[in-house]
């Protein structure tokens, strides 16, 4: 006779865990596509800057390899999506809504990321960096400003009102609290070390990314641990 405690992990729970892993891999694959697109753009920009002529066999091989990896990742996303769909997993209402919004935001973010990668705006002055603050076209700047300043807050408001449950809400609050403390203490530390000639001048971009990253990590840990 099966013990009650042994029965508490149902097949459906195992299936849910597998689908969680599949979603994670789909996300990583999407990020991989954006990064490789950026690499292709960077490679072609570098050739242009050096005034190289037509593509050589080596260039075609390298670009072909990048394209092949993109195709493999795209196939992996499609396959994982099909497997998730076919699993017939039961998903609570909030999570269904959550998944739809994540897919929407993922596609939206992917388009922005791809645009940035393909237009070479992720690189400033030949210095590839996610913290680049080089110039970009006014149109692209406006599109990104509207996306981050108008679209994202509207989605976030809806998210917190209709999707987030109390456990995730607590995870968000813990993340925000630790992130704001990291910012409050980290920014003046950097400022003092700059005044002491130990570090370069404080820059808001890495501080912003640090704050967002800490909030994200704490939220993830609190929600999924």
């Amino acid at each position: 006779m099966t013990n009650l405690k042994e029965r508490t992990m149902t097949d459906a729970d195992n299936m849910a865990n597998n689908n969680g892993l599949r979603r994670l891999w789909m996300m990583f694959s999407g990020i991989g596509i954006i990064m490789i697109s950026g690499a292709i753009s960077g490679y072609l920009s570098q050739r242009d800057a050096q005034g190289d002529g037509p593509l050589t066999t080596l260039d075609v091989s390298i670009l072909g390899l990048f394209a092949a990896v993109i195709l493999v990742l795209a196939f992996a996303i499609w396959r994982l999506f099909q497997q998730t769909k076919q699993s017939g997993e039961r998903v609570p209402r909030r999570e269904r809504l959550n998944n739809r919004i994540i897919w929407g935001c993922g596609i939206f973010g992917g388009i922005i990321g791809l645009t940035l990668a393909l237009t070479g705006n992720m690189e400033a002055a030949n210095e590839p960096s996610p913290f680049a603050s080089g110039p970009m076209s006014p149109m692209l700047a406006l599109i990104l400003a509207v996306a981050i300043g108008v679209v994202l807050p509207a989605i976030t408001f809806y998210w917190h009102k209709h999707v987030v449950d109390e456990q995730e809400d607590a995870a968000y609050r813990a993340g925000a609290l630790i992130a704001i403390y990291a910012f409050w203490f980290g920014a003046p530390v950097w400022w003092f070390l700059w005044r002491g000639g130990i570090l370069p001048q404080p820059d808001g971009v890495p501080l912003y990314f640090m704050t967002a990253f800490i909030a994200l990590i704490v939220w993830f840990w609190k929600k999924y641990r």
């Binding site: 459906a12 729970d13 609570p92």
Partner: protein, 70 residues
């Protein structure tokens, strides 16, 4: 906080997703409550209590011994 949620759920052959659907919370929330990593709010605790038709103190145990010494 220790609780009987896992056992009560298993008695009904519900998955975490099933219980999440009944309580209108995510599977992660059900899992966090079951493993004692998250204590539900009072409204959610009452919802759980009504769902299983049991008093809150029969589902959740705050391990407070003081009451027994009175």
């Amino acid at each position: 906080m220790k609780n009987q949620l896992k056992v009560l759920r298993a008695m009904r052959s519900w998955s975490q997703a099933d219980l999440g659907e009944h309580l209108d919370v995510s599977r992660q929330a059900v899992n966090a409550i079951e493993t004692g990593k998250y204590d539900p709010s009072l409204p959610l605790a009452f919802k759980i209590s009504r769902l299983f038709a049991l008093p809150i103190e029969e589902i959740f145990d705050d391990e407070f011994e003081g009451a027994h010494n009175d």
